[in-house]
């Protein structure tokens, strides 16, 4: 299977067909909008933070399959984590996806590692990282985030 079909078939399309935690919830405590002006990708991330725990995380928006699948995976992975833990995982994800880096896997990121094939399509890395930037921005109280 080519890298491309691997990327789409195994990882991305599964989440596109069965998105986890998709849709704007009735209540949230923190929100940020991720906008990738050049591509036109738009992702909203909604968090409910109770104490220092992210008890709920949802997303919606209008963007490509990579961006939507990444958001779906992220919400599954982040839900229930402490805020500090979520932010440190964000840092790890940025390291994993950094353009030109050799890192192929970071164990602490568990299933999120499945996105690694995106790195073979450098022009699409920003699609995968947008929701993570929005999540971190929401925690920090910033209304918008970009990957620029």
């Amino acid at each position: 299977m080519t890298d491309l079909s691997k990327l789409y078939k195994q990882t991305i399309l599964e989440h596109n067909r069965n998105p986890r935690n998709y849709g704007r919830p009735d209540h949230w405590t923190h929100h940020s909008e991720g906008l990738n002006a050049i591509c036109g990708d738009l992702v909203h991330v909604y968090l409910t933070i109770e104490g220092d725990v992210i008890s709920a995380i949802n997303y919606d928006g209008e963007s490509c399959a990579i961006s939507m699948a990444s958001a779906s995976m992220m919400t599954e992975f982040i839900k229930g984590r402490a805020v500090d833990d979520a932010l440190s995982k964000f840092e790890l994800f940025c390291q994993l996806m950094a353009k030109g880096s050799d890192i192929q896997r970071i164990d602490a990121l568990e299933d999120v590692n499945n996105l690694i094939t995106v790195k073979k399509f450098p022009s699409r890395i920003k699609s995968a990282t947008l929701c993570w930037h929005a999540m971190a921005a929401a925690i920090k109280g910033q209304p918008t985030a970009t990957t620029e």
């Binding site: 080519t2 079909s5 789409y8 591509c39 490509c64 399959a65 990579i66 399509f121």
Partner: protein
């Protein structure tokens, strides 16, 4: 004469593999490929004539100056400008629009005056006017478009009022391919005494442009869209305007005398060409103009029409494809979306099959807002593309659809 295979072979960039597949280059509206003749002209300048222009008595400077000024003549011929002195070398259309906004229009508008553009403009023909409006209190008005992506010319008479001080309209839309009836637009504006600039970025690669016949006050040309170098372009202006306009940039070359008290400006076009210009770029652009004239713009127009009809029919068979922009008069530019697949995913998947298209809003966000979508996939053709390119595009789209099933 257009010799399809021969002229295609003049473009070395077309003959390469991308992702292990022969390149199918369908991103010509973003930037075209360059023919060998342009590359040779650039090399020839750097290797055999490398010197600064207009300022040396030595032989190399002389021959470099000749090459640069001959390029200006070639462009004047391509556009049928009355004189090459009516052409200013610029970095591209973006710079041309900014130049006109700041040196021609700015002094003519005050608070409440109106500048008219159209819904089909590229951001480079929107933002400079918004800046000008902020500086002067003028108001930006927009000629609407219809569902086919055509300009609503019938509304022009109402939109042109005594407050309208300038109009700037795109000749051919980069996002939809619409060819606007610019001659009619100019006539209507002139009837109300309003000067007009036409954005020719996407027109010069496809159409025979005659600035005297159009009677436009300004016309902008982007070098890299018409097979010339990046960072090159020209602005045509009517001599009466150019002579009356103040300089845009101050510096060397645009002066005839400088003391600390005052400066006497050089004549047009030098007045607008401060500093050492993009000499190789100008020379390369002149070569591009010569190349196009050697083929003949009528022949290019005819080949464009063949490709457009072929592609239109082929793309119509792709299931779930929604075409944006269905103007009666259009150049071979196809903006589309496919149901259930985001444009970026299409772009990535077909790139894997060697097909280069652009995805996104193509610097024309208002157009996509009109259609209620964030962007599109855009396949834009040049005369050197082939029917086979269309077939490969369609095949790769079908593969993308298959993958998303």
């Amino acid at each position: 004469m257009l010799n399809k295979q021969f002229h295609r072979d003049q473009f070395p960039g077309l003959h390469q593999e991308v992702n292990g597949k022969p390149l199918v280059y369908l991103d010509n509206a973003a930037t075209a490929q360059r023919p060998q003749m342009v590359l040779d002209a650039i090399n020839d300048y750097y290797i055999n004539h490398n010197a600064n222009i207009h300022r040396g008595v030595h032989s190399l400077s002389e021959s470099a100056t000749d090459l640069y000024e001959n390029a200006r003549k070639s462009l004047a011929k391509l556009l049928n400008a009355p004189s090459e002195k009516d052409l200013i070398f610029v970095r591209g259309c973006t710079e041309a629009v900014n130049l006109v906004a700041q040196t021609f229009v700015r002094s003519r508008v005050s608070k409440g005056d109106e500048i008219l553009i159209s819904h089909l403009e590229h951001h480079s023909n929107i933002v400079p006017w918004q800046l000008l409006c902020e500086q002067t209190g003028a108001v930006l008005k927009v000629i609407p478009m219809n569902d086919a992506g055509e300009l609503c010319v019938d509304q022009l008479d109402d939109l042109l009022t005594e407050k309208t001080k300038f109009m700037s309209v795109v000749h051919v839309s980069n996002a939809l391919g619409t060819i606007n009836p610019v001659k009619e637009v100019v006539t209507k504006a002139h009837a109300k005494g309003v000067p007009v600039m036409l954005d020719g970025a996407q027109a010069t690669p496809h159409l025979k442009v005659d600035v005297q016949d159009l009677d436009c006050d300004f016309y902008t040309v982007s070098g890299h869209k018409m097979y010339g170098p990046t960072g090159s372009g020209v602005l045509f202006g009517k001599a009466e305007h150019l002579n009356a306009m103040p300089p845009y940039h101050g510096g060397g070359e645009m002066i005839s005398k400088v003391t600390f008290e005052s400066t006497v400006y050089n004549a047009v076009p030098a007045k607008f060409e401060a500093g050492t210009p993009n000499i190789a770029g100008g020379i390369g652009l002149g070569a591009a103009a010569e190349f196009m004239m050697s083929i003949g713009m009528e022949n290019i127009e005819q080949r464009d029409a063949e490709l457009r009809v072929y592609a239109e029919q082929a793309l119509a068979k792709v299931p779930g494809l929604r075409m944006l922009g269905t103007a009666k008069h259009k150049s071979p530019v196809f903006s589309f979306n496919i149901e259930g697949i985001h444009a970026h995913d299409i772009g990535t998947i077909i790139d894997h099959h060697g097909v280069a298209v652009r995805t996104g809003h193509h610097c024309t966000m208002p157009i996509f807002e009109y259609f209620g979508v964030a962007g599109s996939c855009r396949a834009s053709f040049a005369f050197y593309n082939t029917e086979q390119d269309v077939d490969i595009l369609v095949e790769s789209l079908l593969k993308a659809i298959e993958m998303f099933k």
